[in-house]
């Protein structure tokens, strides 16, 4: 009679065999097969981890979630990391955390202002709006697509209390300027690091500078667990609040299936509740349930081991495309990093110059016709979207570059799934487009 351990080993062996059959590399046919802008990159280890977690049938976060949180925090060099079910949820939890009454006078209150940018993904800004805070938009640079640091000081108002910004497409924003401003004005800082896992600024990982940082593990991102995200911090008090918002708003911090972790489950007094009311069901925040399953975390554990390789591949692919497109720089503004930054590139952003002789639409249509995926720089100017048109907000200066991005910028992939054949196809498509437009290589 085989043991459960024996059977697990047999199943793992079969899963590896299945991977070889189902997901074996297939030859790439240019112009027929899609060249994705992003995608999951995995091997049999992710499949085995997923099945292993499913055989536990614990279902909710357990050993793999604990392992991922530990190893992820170690990777970043922070004391606390907590898994959530998406990068957007991570942003929601991070902003909600700063509204906690447990922060006393430092908590964010409705009407307080939060400095951010409009050129990005909506769920960087959405939690600001959802918490009745007022976003103050600052324009961004073309080329690195991060905040124009010189304009930050002018964005400060009497109610400015926080800065919530993304390292757009993997490019660290000017952290010297942002952190110095935050220190001078006692502002909270949330780094939206969803697109920048593996990036560094002055040699230190992004996501470790602010009070809180957020991460996404959606399949398009640097590592994936399908749906997944994380919040990281070096502040245990903020971590406990964030965990509360993630876990229904409860005061208790027992993991799923655990009881009396605090050792005072039936002996505390909360508000007007009866003395000794079960701590497991005491709520100190109006929270959510944004936890992951252990199956997701298991995939994340296997992905995390590959992260350094993924980052290296993204950088190599970025360099390849930079070299390939250099002859077109008079028509295309190519991406570059901010000073002191080592991006872990999310994508390769291109802005079509105003005098290029063709439009973004012309180029994008050509690429898509050649089965090369493109994406706009997310929302472009968020304020021009129906959901955000009427929100209370302030603009510091103008958003001229943000509007340029809305009209003229797009990005293509650099993800590790792009092999040399696909990269050659991309370079060749650009060459053919430019030749057709009369641009000499």
């Amino acid at each position: 009679m085989p043991t459960a351990k024996d059977l697990r080993q047999q199943i793992a062996s079969l899963v590896r065999e299945y991977y070889g059959v189902q997901f074996a590399a297939r030859p790439f046919t240019p112009g027929v097969d899609l060249t994705h802008y992003a995608g999951r990159v995995f091997d049999s280890e992710e499949l085995c981890a997923l099945v292993d977690a499913s055989l536990d049938f614990f279902l909710t976060a357990n050993r793999y979630a604990e392992r991922f949180e530990t190893e992820f925090a170690d990777y970043l060099g922070v004391s606390e990391a907590l898994l959530v079910n998406s990068g957007s949820s991570a942003n929601l939890v991070a902003v909600a955390t700063l509204t906690s009454p447990k922060l006393g006078d430092r908590r964010l209150q409705p009407g307080d202002e939060v400095i951010t940018v409009a050129a990005g993904f909506p769920t960087t800004v959405a939690p600001i709006v959802q918490h009745q805070l007022v976003p103050v938009f600052v324009d961004v640079n073309l080329g690195d697509y991060t905040v124009i640091a010189e304009r930050l000081t002018r964005a400060i108002g009497p109610r400015t209390r926080a800065i919530v910004m993304a390292h757009t497409l993997g490019v660290p924003f000017d952290l010297d300027a942002v952190m110095s401003l935050a220190k001078a004005h006692d502002l909270w800082v949330i780094e939206d690091n969803c697109d920048a896992l593996g990036s560094r600024y002055r040699g230190r990982p992004t996501g470790t500078f602010g009070h809180l940082a957020t991460f996404s593990f959606y399949p398009a991102h640097h590592i994936t667990m399908g749906e997944g995200g994380a919040v990281a911090t070096n502040d245990p008090a903020l971590a406990r609040i964030a965990r509360s918002f993630r876990d229904w708003g409860r005061d208790c911090y027992c993991a799923g299936g655990e009881n009396n972790t605090c050792g005072t489950r039936f002996s505390q007094q909360f508000g007007t509740l009866p003395a000794g009311f079960d701590h497991k069901y005491v709520y100190s925040h109006v929270g959510y349930n944004l936890k992951v399953t252990d199956m997701q975390a298991a995939i994340g554990c296997a992905q995390l081991e590959k992260l350094d390789g993924f980052v290296a591949a993204r950088r190599a692919n970025f360099e390849f495309l930079s070299r390939a497109f250099r002859p077109y720089e008079d028509r295309l503004l190519l991406p570059h990093a901010t000073p002191y930054a080592e991006p872990s590139w999310f994508g390769f952003a291109i802005t079509v110059r105003e005098d290029a002789g063709f439009s973004r639409a012309d180029l994008v249509k050509f690429l898509e016709a050649n089965r090369i995926e493109t994406r706009p720089l997310f929302a472009g100017n968020l304020l021009r979207h129906p959901a955000f048109e009427g929100i209370p907000h302030r603009v510091a200066g103008d958003l001229a570059n943000t509007d340029r991005i809305t009209n003229d910028t797009f990005f293509i992939g650099v993800y590790p799934g792009l092999d040399r054949a696909r990269l050659d196809h991309v370079a060749d498509a650009f060459s053919r487009f430019m030749t057709h437009r009369g641009v000499a290589a």
Partner: protein, 236 residues
């Protein structure tokens, strides 16, 4: 951020009167923790793919800088610690999960630490981490039934020799002749009060038996100490 770790019991010291110190060696490095935090210890076998077994709470007595070993001290009081007495033996295996809690001593104000019995373990890591140059004044009141049960006295004396800002008052109930500089009887505030620079601006931390906690807390309130300056490490 909490972790569950399998540990080998490396050493057990019996202090007498059914009080023990156990040094545990985890199968991987301990997570980062802060002085004053606690762990859960389980004796029964644990399969990480399943549910955590019955466990009890113990202060982490070792310093946060040592992440290869963890030390706890316990007194036998109930069924679980009675089981520990026979199950937590050298070479044996236990599981721990940690760190938890926020009984972390304030470093910006003067503090008074009041410890009874094994309650000293809530402060031992903090005391070990004190720097000679600290500007904070730390007064420790540490009591036990007998001098031999002042099990952290050696560590405290090392700290006292190193840190001029640390003042200590010992209390013992029996065999008082063995420790002449100790105050006879249970831990109380009378002998501690003159050593405080500004009692109303001092944070008080209390760890020990429930009866001692209640007595000291009541006395502090009677002396006009604000509730937010009184911190209690109490478990069920």
């Amino acid at each position: 951020m909490t972790q569950k770790l399998a540990c080998v019991v490396e050493r057990v010291v019996a202090h007498g009167d059914r009080v023990y110190t156990a040094v545990l060696r985890p199968d991987r490095r301990l997570p980062r923790f802060r002085a004053g935090q606690f762990l859960h210890l389980a004796i029964d076998a644990y399969d990480p793919s399943g549910f955590w077994p019955e466990s009890r709470v113990f202060s982490i007595a070792s310093a946060p800088t040592d992440r290869d070993r963890v030390r706890i001290t316990y007194a036998v009081h109930g069924p679980f610690t009675t089981r520990m007495e026979s199950a937590v033996v050298e070479g044996g295996s236990v599981w721990i999960k940690l760190p938890y809690g926020d009984f972390v001593v304030e470093e910006a104000t003067d503090v008074a630490l009041v410890a009874g019995g094994t309650g000293i373990t809530a402060f031992s890591a903090f005391l070990e981490g004190l720097l000679p140059s600290m500007s904070q004044k730390v007064v420790l009141a540490y009591g036990a039934r007998s001098p031999q049960l002042l099990v952290y006295r050696h560590l405290i004396e090392e700290c006292r020799a190193r840190v001029p800002g640390l003042q200590v008052v010992y209390f013992v109930e029996h065999d008082t002749g063995a420790l002449p500089d100790a105050v006879p009887g249970r831990v109380c505030l009378e002998a501690v009060w003159p050593k405080l620079r500004a009692p109303l601006e001092t944070n008080f931390y209390i760890a020990g038996p429930p009866a001692m906690i209640d007595t000291i807390r009541g006395d502090l309130q009677h002396r006009g100490i604000a509730a937010e300056m009184i911190h209690v490490d109490a478990w069920e």
